[in-house]
């Protein structure tokens, strides 16, 4: 860190020796979440970085062994409240596999709609955090400002901005109304306009390009070896997206592309995120246009709702009231694994049911958890000032990694 000066007896002979030092960055970091990074420096170059996660550990996996299946829904959303639809969706898909429920077409489309709205919001959140890491306060404010537009849609659709608990076994909780359709159309028009400004002030800003190009380069081989997921993997030239590889919800019925960049540097990761926002808006347009009529909850559960309540809530407000079955259902013995493409990458759930009201085991492998190793490897050899730039480029979210 500092140069050590040695004065020999003969005179002013100065020898400069690069001195190694350690910096404890965090756990109260001027960025997102709580996490400590032990950085070993040689001058300005990072020799080694060790991530010390666990400051926001919530014990989701253990807690879920003591809760009924419905009560786990809000629990699994907690690790990544800004990406809660995906956290919710992956868990429900695993439970549905154990239960053997068929989900109606309309509910599948609604899941896709909510997931893509949430993906845009999640990317904008990540971009905002990244921008302030680079000192670009306008990108920070714009990221959070634009995210608000999408959160309003989620609020209108699900009743909550974050931690929506929208997706339930067999379907979704609320139906799409014409007002929400109009909101989505307006939001898409606004975001398309705003993305042009984003490109002008952030993406094509020479300052930002200088900070991101050739920084934190991850080759295709390394990306696969280190287990990168999501946009980080696709920025290294790997065509991999669960939405295409193993389509769920209504992703096999909509037309979209997976943006892939070959460069593998932080700037490619930035471009991938912007391209994904554009693709998500494309999906939303198709969902709005092609959404079929029908029920939003599987008949198996729908029939159990008492007629009086059905009349008041479903016919009146197009909302699902929980049938009694949900109170503490006991799925058959079995196990299921589900994969979804969350905002930050592949999210895996593994649920084992022993026939009781609580799962025997719930395992969730979050994308940020898999980013930890990538982060430790990728920062080696880069400059200390690049640490926040790389951190932001990986879109690492500590609570999601800690679970």
């Amino acid at each position: 860190m500092t140069s050590q000066l040695e004065f020999s007896a003969s005179g002013l002979e100065v020898e400069i020796i690069p001195v190694e030092g350690e910096l404890n960055v965090g756990p109260q970091h001027p960025g997102s979440g709580h996490m400590r990074i032990y950085v070993k420096l040689d001058g300005d170059i990072i020799v080694d970085a060790k991530i010390d996660p666990g400051y926001v550990h919530r014990g989701v996996e253990k807690l879920s062994e003591y809760r009924t299946y419905m009560k786990i829904i809000p629990l699994v959303e907690r690790p990544a409240i800004l990406d809660s639809i995906h956290m919710n969706l992956g868990y429900i898909m695993a439970v549905e596999k154990i239960l053997g429920v068929d989900v109606p077409e309309r509910a599948q489309y609604l899941r896709t709609l909510a997931a893509e709205v949430n993906r845009i919001a999640s990317h904008l959140y990540g971009l905002g955090i990244w921008a302030i890491f680079l000192g670009h306060s306008t990108g920070y404010m714009w990221g959070f400002g634009d995210r608000e537009v999408w959160l309003e849609i989620l609020q209108a659709l699900t009743g909550a901005r974050v931690t929506n608990s929208y997706i339930i076994p067999g379907g979704v909780r609320r139906d799409l109304t014409p007002a929400i359709k109009e909101m989505v159309e307006k939001a898409i028009a606004y975001q398309r306009r705003k993305l042009q400004d984003w490109y002008k002030i952030f993406v094509n800003n020479p300052n930002i390009r200088a900070r991101l190009e050739n920084v934190g380069v991850m080759s295709r081989e390394n990306a696969i070896k280190w287990g990168a997921v999501g946009p980080n993997l696709r920025a290294s030239g790997v065509y991999y997206d669960v939405r295409k590889i193993e389509p769920y919800a209504a992703y096999d019925k909509v037309d979209f592309e997976i943006p892939v960049y070959k460069e593998g540097d932080a700037y490619a990761r930035l471009l991938v995120r912007f391209a994904e926002i554009e693709q998500s808006m494309r999906i939303l347009e198709q969902v709005i246009k092609n959404i079929p009529e029908g029920n939003i909850l599987s008949d198996r559960f729908f029939k159990q709702i008492p007629p009086t309540r059905l009349k008041k809530w479903w016919e009146g407000q197009r909302r699902i009231v929980f049938p009694g079955y949900y109170a503490s259902f006991r799925p058959p013995k079995g196990e299921a694994i589900s994969r979804v493409e969350a905002g930050r990458g592949e999210l895996v759930y593994y649920v084992i049911s022993d026939g009781s009201a609580n799962p025997y085991r719930l395992r969730m492998i979050t994308p940020s958890y898999r980013t930890i190793y990538v982060f430790e490897q990728i920062v080696k050899g880069s400059r200390y000032a690049d640490l926040p730039a790389i951190y932001g480029s990986l879109d690492y979210f500590p609570p999601e990694a800690d679970r």
Partner: protein, 352 residues
Amino acid sequence: MSALYALRYYFFYPSFFVVIIFPGLIFTTIVLLLTIWFERKAAALVQMRYGPLYVSKRVGGALQLVADAIRLVFSEIIIPVEVNPTLFVLAPALVFTFTFVPMILIPYSAIPQSGSILSPYFHIFYDPNIHKGLFIGYFVPYNIILIMGLSAITPVFILLQAWATNNRFAIVGAVRESLLAVSYDVLIVMSLAAVAIEYHTLDIAKITETGIPGIIANPLAALVFFIGMLMATGRFPFEIVEAESEVVVGPSTEYSGLLFVLAMGGSYVTTFALSFVFSDVFLGGWLPLNGLPGALWNSIKAIIVLWFTVFLRAVYGRYRIDQALRGSWKYLLPVAFASLVLGLVVGQLWIR
């Protein structure tokens, strides 16, 4: 009457009036508060939000900064256990002092022989180079050299401050400051040397009174000086020393309360002082006015320069230290040499 006259005489005596009231301590403090308000307001405008508002809705939240200043001044000063308390307290005070000292030596306006409220001081602050009096705290004929020299001392005290706080982030910030200081000082000195050669003088007042603004006579020097100024004062995109997400607040990491104000306010004072130099040398300073209105006109120009520098926050992120160094040594140094050559040529052909 004579008592009142004497009072007026001593009140407007430039060495007092310039240093303490206008455009010295009091005016500078007000301008700094307004600058920080403008910085936040302008950034807010770009960023689709209100900025400071609730403290005084009628004036757009301008009093927010007064409230912030009062809070900072009265909050507890925490001195870490393992530091040398004397140096810890002294260092930011020295930083602030030496950022302010150059303001004494900058000519703010010319004093005509008669007709101005400042005319009684014509002979005391007489500048033989322009045959006029100068509205200045202390007149030296070689004020460019003295201003550059004094403003180059500040980084030394920033290093002292970082060393005294005994914090690793502060040390990293100080190393960055020392690396940057070497490069921006070269840029500022070379651009001013180009202008000095061009106008055949080391007196800022003579440059201004020539009547040709430096930005027309030597635009390259103006560019180099402006970028050097951004680097010297840690404005975006060169906010490298205090980079929040990298080194917390750099050399000021351990400071709180009034000492934090002194440590952080210094960069704004430097920006204001260098804005005055920029206004005098490159923008025509007080011309075509003189006396007190000239000083006011000069301040308006300086404030515009100052506000432009703080507005850059809304546009840029920050460069990496090696990028800033490469930019200054690889790209701006040749431009500075070119401005030197331009100064030589134009000085021989046009400005006599």
